[in-house]
Amino acid sequence: MGRLLRSLRWSRPPSAAWLFLTPAVFMALLVFAYPILQILRASLLDRGRNQFVGLANYASLTDDPIAWQSIQNNFLLLAVIPVLIGSSILIASILFDHPRGWQIYRTLVFAPYVLSVVVVGIAFDQIYTGRGVLNTVLSGVGLDGFRREWLGDPHTALASVMAVIIWREVGFGVTLFLARLTTASTDLYDAARVDGAGWFAIMRHVTVPHLRPVIAVYAASTMIGMFSWVFGYIYILTRGGPGYSTYVSEYFIYQSAFNYDSLGSAAALASVLLGIVVVAVAFQFSGQRQMGVE
């Protein structure tokens, strides 16, 4: 039967296949390609005169310190990826052992992910203020020297935003890894224990290898997120400040397009951002293939 279907498929003329594919291809182009092409087009125009200016908008980005700072901050945000993956695996492994009340812990860990970024942002905005809970706790345990204006100090603002991202997003990673772990054979774990493997050895030689495909997907999606999905956090928590210390590409694009009427610059950075994400994801999947991760 399978052979018959294959022969039927290959015996049809390509034009018929294209005929059936055309609506889907058209929709895909409309939904994905058209907006991207429009952005690329806008990046080559002077908004005011609506004239073609070649790569002038891209050139202006190169000597714009804010654009550079924005991209740099996006790359700095990538530091959350290993933290997210590591903590998600750790928590998932602990929960996988079903400690007493594990369902409650699982719910608690996942709960922040259910909250909207706005709610999380407002909550942490309060926690981080000079007289907020964090500083109060630090004072309470005798760590006055660590009191900071967490979001008001350019040296700690981005790290503080990262901490919020990790707090909210880790639940999703835990859920993903827990789901994957349920597919693992208990024989593997039993065999490892019989062989005298401790918790760390089991984690290294059994759990992580089994999770590798999910880790790859999670890392890729989080990486895309750190370039393209952090606007909400930045907008609520810092508006890019203090100074440009938390300015990210999305915020630059938003400000340029909607507040400064500089669509060319916004489109140029949006195109650069798209390029960065595509290249980064391609590199990552290429590396995974070389490591044998499907």
Binding site: G48, R49, D125, G130, E149, G241, G243, N259, D261
Partner: protein, 490 residues
């Protein structure tokens, strides 16, 4: 920005270079005579304004006023008009007033249908930009004053209001408010209500600190003495929040014109004809640093935002704050009328604007694609009838920059004081003449740098200058428009 000054010319241009009321009146001519027939109706409205609620009686009388005015001033109007507006966010109660005013106007003009749409803060500018690009959307549009309105006017989105509304009508508006959208002899928008920014101080705290609560500091030195005394009394002298940058414009507006004689002169360093490092522009940064070093501000100033900083005043923790006039009634409710004092910014500069009340007028404009500009303009005039002005203030606390508004009816002494300052001692907010990008990407950051210790005043001024230079190189079109604008002001 696209320059297009080919807006429809429906009336002869009026010379408005300096926007004196005398010049308006000189240009009024026969229109004033025609309008005079409406005087009885306006007087009737004044008498009707004794009722401050939106009662049926007031509604009926206001409707009668509208009817009477239109029957004498304008021919029968008809058509649809769309009104995109903003303002409920800063003057709660305006939405009710707008709805009521639209209803009254439609009652008086059965052939007219006005659709009012309250805009979200974030979508006001991009929404109007998109409408302008498509040449469809609102006939009547709210816009912030100065450069915000003029940016759209230079793109051809706006029909000058001085082409639609007679000069004698405009002569009732405070000249400083009209000057915000004046260019090349035209006025582009009609000021709706003013948004003065000023200091509020806690009289009880002043008394506790040994200061005269009825005589707040007027000079910078007196201000520093007050800071010292409040601090010594255990009171945070000045509650403030910088995070999110939203309050830095309010803050800068109290100080950064003090070395200048005219608000529009702030355009000179923008246009490249002066340096921001000149003390006339940047001395205020030294004064702010002085206040910071003196411990004038709450310790967590960098991690609080504007509202949180203002909360310190509301909670009684801080002795002073910068607020908008529309917040006065809320403060009075929270702290008591006897506790809340208002004061002008302490004076240190040598310019004519030193120590003046910073104010801006929120503007209403008629779009260049409006299908019924006459309806839009007539509705604007109706909004400025004394009865409607009074009702607006009662509903929202907003104060119109219009001499037909009876200030004696203001309930709060603080509001009466602010209106008096606005009329005689007010200066247009610098933001009306300063590119928004050079706030968020420049001036605000310099102020933040001063507060978090990364910049000294001279470094901050140099940073502002260098960023202006870079911006100028990339925005030659805007620079040309702004230079022309400055030149048109003389």
């Amino acid at each position: 920005m696209k320059t297009d000054r080919s807006e429809p010319q429906q009336r002869a241009p009026i010379e408005l270079q300096s926007f004196g009321r005398r010049q308006f009146l000189r240009g009024a001519g026969g229109v004033a005579i025609t309008s005079a027939f409406g005087l009885p109706a306006i007087l009737a409205a004044c008498s009707n304004s004794a009722s401050s609620s939106a009662s049926a009686a007031a509604t009926a009388s206001a409707g009668a006023t509208a009817s009477a005015e239109t029957s004498t001033v304008a021919p029968r109007l008809s058509g649809k008009s769309t009104f995109w507006w903003w303002g409920e966010q800063e003057a709660p109660g305006l939405e009710k007033w707008v709805g009521e005013t639209v209803g009254l106007y439609q009652d008086a003009h059965p052939g007219v249908e006005i659709s009012s749409v309250l805009q979200a803060t974030e979508s006001l500018m991009p929404g109007f930009k998109a409408a302008g690009d498509a040449k469809q959307g609102p006939d009547l549009q709210y816009m912030w004053g100065g450069i915000s309105t003029m940016g759209f006017a230079w793109q051809g989105f706006v029909t000058p209001i001085s082409d639609l509304i007679p000069a004698d009508e405009l002569a009732h508006i405070f000249p400083s408010s009209l000057s915000e959208t004046a260019d090349q002899g035209k006025v582009y928008a009609l000021p709706w209500y003013i948004f003065p920014l000023h200091f509020a101080y806690n009289k009880k705290h002043f008394r506790t600190a040994g200061l005269d609560p009825e005589s707040p500091p007027r000079s910078w030195n007196d201000f520093l003495v007050a800071v010292d005394k409040l601090k010594a009394a255990g009171i945070t002298p000045w509650g403030y929040g910088l995070k999110g940058l939203s309050g830095i414009g309010n803050f800068a507006s109290q100080f950064n014109l003090q070395g200048l004689d005219r608000p529009i002169d702030i355009l000179k360093p923008v246009a490249g004809t002066a340096k921001y490092t000149d003390p006339a522009y940047s001395e205020w940064m030294h004064r702010i640093k002085e206040a910071i070093d003196r411990g004038a501000f709450n310790e967590d100033v960098n991690s609080l935002d504007l509202a949180q900083g203002q909360d310190l005043f509301v909670s009684g923790e801080a002795g002073m704050n910068i607020i908008g006039q529309s917040q006065i009634s809320g403060l009075v409710k929270a702290l008591g009328s006897d506790t809340v004092g208002v004061m002008l910014p302490p004076k240190f500069g040598s310019g004519a604007l030193a120590g003046k009340l910073s104010t801006t007028a929120q503007q209403l404009l008629v779009t260049s694609w409006a299908t019924n500009p006459d309806v839009a303009a007539d509705f604007l005039k109706f909004m400025h009838t004394p009865e409607r002005l009074k009702a607006m203030n009662v509903a929202s606390g907003a104060i119109p920059p219009d001499d037909r508004f009876d200030a004696s009816g203001l309930e709060l002494a603080q509001d009466r004081q602010i209106l008096a300052w606005a009329n005689t001692d007010g200066a247009t907010n610098y933001q009306n003449f300063w590119p928004p990008q050079m706030d968020r990407e420049n001036l605000f950051l310099a102020v933040q740098g001063l507060f978090n210790g990364q910049l000294q005043p001279d470094q901050a001024a140099t940073q502002v200058q260098e960023t202006l230079d870079r911006w100028r190189d990339k925005n030659q079109d805007q620079v040309k428009q702004l230079s022309d604008w400055a030149a048109s002001a003389g």
